[in-house]
Structure formats: C-alpha cells, structure tokens
Symmetry: C2
Subunit: 100 residues, 2 copies
C-alpha cells in the first residue's frame, strides 16, 4: 500500500510565480528519490495564488525520508514556506486497486 500527501498552499500576493519556480526544482529532485512515485505541482484554475501538490510514496517511511532531504530543507522550508499565506498538508492512504 502506497502513501500519499496533498499539500494546499495560498501564496502571498504576487509570490505565486516564485513559489512555482521553486516547486519545479523540488519536483525534479523529489522524483529522483527511490521511494517516490509521484510529485505533481498544480496551480488553481480559478485563483492563481492557490498551489496544490499531489505526492505519492512507496511507504510512510519514504515520505519521512523525503522530509529529511536537503532539497526539502532548501526549496520547501527555506524557499517556499516564507512566501506562503497559508499551508495545509494532509497525509493519506490510497484505496486498494487505486491504479492510475
């Protein structure tokens, strides 16, 4: 059973492009992790300040390892988080038979 995470951000006004650029780098680095299955970045279709990440890992331990990487520290905690007005992260278990 894999392990998924949905993060929903609201960027500070005018900071969405900077956040999305940082997340592009984060996405590229995260997909190299052995336990990563998906790391998808989205922008709100209605509100461009809404940014949503859909991430999937082989296990919860692989997600924990993701949070301990240099690129998480650099791009997310050091880069993106200071540019956010709000940040919500929900941890999820995909239903059986959840093939893409």
């Amino acid at each position: 059973m894999s392990y998924a995470v949905v993060a929903r951000y609201l960027t500070r006004p005018g900071k969405e492009d900077e956040v999305l650029t940082l997340l592009d780098s984060m996405s590229e680095a995260s997909r190299q992790e052995p336990g990563n299955r998906q790391y998808r970045v989205h922008q709100g279709a209605g509100d461009p300040r809404v940014v949503v990440l859909y991430e999937e890992y082989d296990s919860e331990a692989d997600f924990e390892a993701h949070c301990a990487t240099d690129h998480f520290q650099r791009y997310v905690l050091g880069g993106v988080v200071p540019l956010l007005e709000s940040r919500d992260v929900v941890r999820l278990v995909p239903r059986e038979g959840v093939s893409a």
Copy 2:
C-alpha cells in the same frame, strides 16, 4: 495541458465506510470515461473521516462531462454528498512537464 481536481470531504461520524464503498464504484465508472486520466480515492492516514479524491482529465470540458454523467449523479450527488459533513472541491491546472 490536462486538468486536475482535488476534492476533500469530511464524512459524518460513522459514514466513512459507506462513502468509500460508493467512491469505489464511482472510481471504476469514472476511469471508463474517455477523457479521464486518473480517479484516485484516499482515506486520511490520521482521521478516517477525511476522504480525498485526486482526479485528472484531458481537459476542463472532460471534467464538465464527468459531472454530467449518470454515475456522478447516482454515486456522488445522490449517494456520497448526503453522508458528508463538509465538501471542498478545488480545480487545478498541472504544471508543464508534470509526468507521473
């Protein structure tokens, strides 16, 4: 460019299994739609009443067509929604180069 949707539900107390069973049927039917790329059902790792859907379509028009199907009427509007305490749906545009 594809089109994604994240729906986040909080079920009424004790209704999560009923909701998840309905969504399993919805997931199976939705994946048969020509414009559907993903329809993934998740349960909260912490709170079992949290249910999150990650859906992806070829276009916004394909999502609109999804919302007009019989199975959406039957399983979501007729089955799941009355069993929810809250429902939030956000429409999203995946970033370029967002291969799974």
